[in-house]
C-alpha cells in the first residue's frame, strides 16, 4: 500500500504571535516551529497501516526552507521518505493554491491512500484535505477518529453532529485525522538515527494563482482585565447578579 501524508510546519500552540509592521506576515523571531499537531495523528495512522500491511509512507510538505529542520521529525516518526516543496517565506492563506501544489506532486506517485491533519493550527482553514480530494476526484472523510483496515477496505469512525458514524470505504480515498485517532509515538534514538539515512528531496516551486488575497493581519481586540468579586462563596450572589443584570447572559 502506498500512503501519502501531507504535513505542515506551524508555530507551536503556545507561541505568542506578533504581527510584522507590514501587516502581511508574523514576526518569526523567537517563534518555535513544529509539525502541526493534527498531522502527527496522520503520520501515526499511515505508519501503523504500513507496519500492518506493508508498503511505503511518503510525507509531503509545502512550506519555506526553514521548515526542513522540523520536517526531519516526520522521518523519525516512521515516514520512509520526504518531499519538501519549498516556497517563499510568506504564509500561504489560500487553501486552493496549496491543494493545486499538492495535487500536482501527488498525481504521478499514484498512491492508494492520503492522510492530512484535520486542520492546521496557523491558518485554521481545514480545507486542504477536501480540496485535494476533489482535485484527484477521490472520496474523502474529514476529522476521523477511528480507523481499521480489513482485507481490501477501510472501516472509519467519525464524530458528527448526531453521534459517531462508522463508514466503509474502498481505496483510494483521502482521510483527515482528528485528535483521539491514535497516540503518536515518541521516536527512539534508533528511529532518529535511521531517519538520517532516509531520502529527502527539497524542490523549489512557484506559488500558483491565488483566489483570495490577504489584505492584512490585525491584533484581536484586547480584553479588559475584569474584577475579582471575592474569595469565598459569599461572592456567588454578586456573580449571578452581574451575569443577569450587567452581562445579561443568564
Amino acid at each position: 500500500m502506498k500512503i501519502i501524508v501531507c504535513v505542515k510546519v506551524v508555530p507551536v500552540s503556545d507561541s505568542v504571535i506578533r504581527i510584522s509592521p507590514d501587516r502581511k506576515t508574523i514576526d518569526p523571531t523567537n517563534l518555535k516551529f513544529d509539525i502541526n499537531p493534527y498531522d502527527e495523528y496522520a503520520i501515526e495512522a499511515a505508519v501503523q497501516l504500513k507496519e500492518q500491511n506493508g508498503g511505503e509512507v511518503i510525507a509531503i510538505s509545502v512550506g519555506p526552507a526553514r521548515d526542513s529542520i522540523s520536517l526531519k521529525r516526520v522521518l523519525a516518526l516512521g515516514a520512509d521518505r520526504l518531499l519538501h516543496l519549498v516556497i517563499d517565506d510568506k504564509p500561504l492563506y489560500d487553501s486552493m493554491a496549496i491543494a493545486t501544489i499538492l495535487a500536482e506532486a501527488i498525481k504521478p506517485l499514484s498512491p492508494d491512500l492520503i492522510f492530512c491533519g484535520k486542520i492546521s493550527i496557523d491558518t485554521g482553514n481545514g480545507l486542504v484535505g477536501p480540496l485535494l480530494a476533489r482535485r484527484l476526484d477521490w472520496p474523502c472523510l474529514t476529522g476521523i477518529c477511528e480507523l481499521k483496515f480489513k482485507e481490501d477496505h477501510l472501516v472509519i469512525g467519525k464524530d458528527t453532529e448526531i453521534g459517531r458514524v462508522h463508514y466503509e470505504s474502498s481505496l483510494p480515498c483521502l482521510l483527515t485525522t482528528d485528535k483521539g485517532l491514535n497516540k503518536p509515538r515518541f521516536p527512539s534514538l534508533k528511529d532518529i538515527m535511521l531517519a538520517r539515512k532516509k531520502e529527502t528531496i527539497a524542490t523549489n516551486i512557484g506559488v500558483p494563482e491565488q483566489v483570495s488575497e490577504l489584505v492584512g493581519l490585525n491584533s484581536p481586540d484586547a480584553r479588559q482585565v475584569g474584577i475579582i468579586l471575592g474569595n469565598d462563596i459569599g461572592a456567588v450572589p454578586e456573580l449571578i447578579r452581574r451575569l443577569r443584570e450587567e452581562a445579561k447572559v443568564l
Binding site: S13, D14, S15, V16, I17, P37, Y38, Y93, S95, D122, G124, N125, G126, L127, P130, L131, R134, P139, C140, L141, G143, C145, V155, T160, E161, I162, G163, V165, H166, Y167, E168, S169, D178, K179, G180, V211, S212, E213, L214, V215, L217, N218, S219, P220, G226, I227, I228, L229, G230, N231, D232, I233, A235, V236, P237, I240, L243, A247, V249, L250
Partner: protein, 326 residues
C-alpha cells in the same frame, strides 16, 4: 446580484447562525434589493419559510431528501452543485459547521469560485470585492481576506452576527426533488450521541473544567453546572490529554475555538493556547484558587476560591432562582 444562504434547522426553527447568514446577506447585497434566497433542507415544517422571510429572505427553496449530514463532503457538494449551476448566484453563505465547511470548499473549487471559512464579519471593499475577517492562529490574530473570484463562498461562525428582523416575503419558490447524494461511502452504523447539551461551537454558554477539578470523577460538577443553565461542557487540553474527558470537549488552539456569550472557566489556569481559543467569548468568568492564574487577566469576573465550594453554591442559587421564576 443573487445571494443564497444555506439554512440550518432544529425543531422547526432556523438556527441563530443561519438567521445571521440572512442578515449578512442583506448587509452585503448590492444593490440592496438584490434577491436573497434561503436554501432549507426539508426535514422541517414548511413554516420555517416565514421565519426565513422575517430575517430578510425574498424566497425559499426546499431540498427534499437531505441526509447529507452523513454523506461524504463531495457527495453533498455534488448535490448542491447541480442546483447552483442553474442559478449562478454570486454569493453563497453557510453557517460554519465542519461538514458544511468541507462541502462549501469543494463547491467553491468545482464552480471556479473562492472561499473564506469561519468568518466573523464581511464588508464590501473598494471595487466591490468582499473582505472577510477571520481568526488565524486560533484567534491570536485576525486576517482580512479579499475574495477576488466569483462565486464567493463564505461560512459564518456561530454567535458573530446578530440576526436583524427585515420582513420580506419568504415565498416558497421551489422544491428540489431528487437531491439524493451519490453514495461514495457506505454507512455501517450510527451511534447517536446521548448528550442533549448544545454543541461547543454553537453554544451560547459554556462551562469548562481544567486541572483544578482534580480528577475525572469530579467532572460531573462541570456537567451539573452546565445543565443548570443549559450550557455546553468544555475542557482544557491538560485534562483531555490526561484522559479525564473525551477530546470532543477540548477548547483551545488544538481543540475548538469557541465564541459563546458566556464562558465559565473552572480550575483552568489559562495556557496561551486555551486563551486564544476563548478570546472571542463575550463574557468570561474564572473560578480558580490561584490569584496569579493567567485566566484572570482575560476574565470579566473572577472568584479566587476553591471550585469545590463555588460550583455547588452556584448550582444551588441558580436552581433556587430558576424555580422562583417558574
Amino acid at each position: 446580484m443573487e445571494i443564497y444562504a444555506f439554512i440550518d434547522c432544529k425543531n422547526d426553527t432556523i438556527s441563530k447562525t443561519s438567521a445571521g447568514c440572512l442578515t449578512l446577506g442583506r448587509q452585503i447585497a448590492s444593490p440592496p434589493n438584490s434577491i436573497l434566497t434561503a436554501v432549507v433542507p426539508q426535514k422541517t415544517n414548511l413554516s420555517v419559510a416565514k421565519e426565513c422571510g422575517r430575517y430578510g429572505a425574498d424566497q425559499v427553496v426546499f431540498i427534499k431528501n437531505p441526509g447529507f449530514e452523513l454523506s461524504s463532503p463531495e457527495g453533498f457538494a455534488k448535490v448542491l452543485e447541480n442546483f447552483l449551476r442553474k442559478k449562478q448566484p454570486e454569493i453563497i453563505l453557510f453557517p460554519d459547521r465542519p461538514d458544511l465547511r468541507d462541502s462549501a470548499a469543494i463547491l467553491a473549487d468545482s464552480t471556479g469560485g473562492s472561499i473564506a471559512v469561519d468568518c466573523l464579519r464581511v464588508t464590501v471593499g473598494d471595487g466591490g470585492d468582499l473582505v472577510c475577517r477571520r481568526p488565524v492562529y486560533a484567534g491570536k490574530a485576525m486576517a482580512d481576506l479579499k475574495l477576488t473570484r466569483k462565486p464567493v463562498y463564505i461560512t459564518l461562525r456561530a454567535n458573530t452576527i446578530s440576526p436583524i428582523i427585515d420582513e420580506r416575503s419568504g415565498d416558497i419558490v421551489e422544491f428540489c426533488p431528487d437531491l439524493i447524494p451519490p453514495k461514495t461511502l457506505k454507512i455501517l452504523e450510527t451511534r447517536p450521541l446521548l448528550s442533549k447539551r448544545p454543541a461547543l461551537t454553537e453554544a451560547r454558554i459554556i462551562v469548562s473544567g481544567g486541572r483544578g477539578i482534580g480528577s475525572s470523577d469530579n467532572y460531573h460538577l462541570i456537567e451539573e453546572l452546565a445543565d443548570t443553565i443549559g450550557a455546553a461542557v468544555g475542557a482544557s487540553r491538560l485534562i483531555v490529554d490526561a484522559g479525564w474527558v473525551s477530546q470532543i470537549h477540548q477548547v483551545g488552539q488544538t481543540g475548538k475555538t469557541v465564541t459563546p456569550d458566556l464562558y465559565i472557566a473552572c480550575g483552568i489556569s489559562g495556557a496561551m493556547q486555551h486563551l486564544a481559543g476563548i478570546s472571542s467569548a463575550k463574557w468570561i468568568v474564572a473560578i480558580n484558587n490561584d490569584p496569579e492564574a493567567p485566566i484572570f487577566k482575560v476574565s470579566d469576573y473572577g472568584i479566587v476560591a476553591n471550585l469545590f465550594d463555588i460550583i455547588p453554591e452556584m448550582i444551588k442559587q441558580l436552581q433556587t432562582t430558576n424555580e422562583q421564576s417558574k
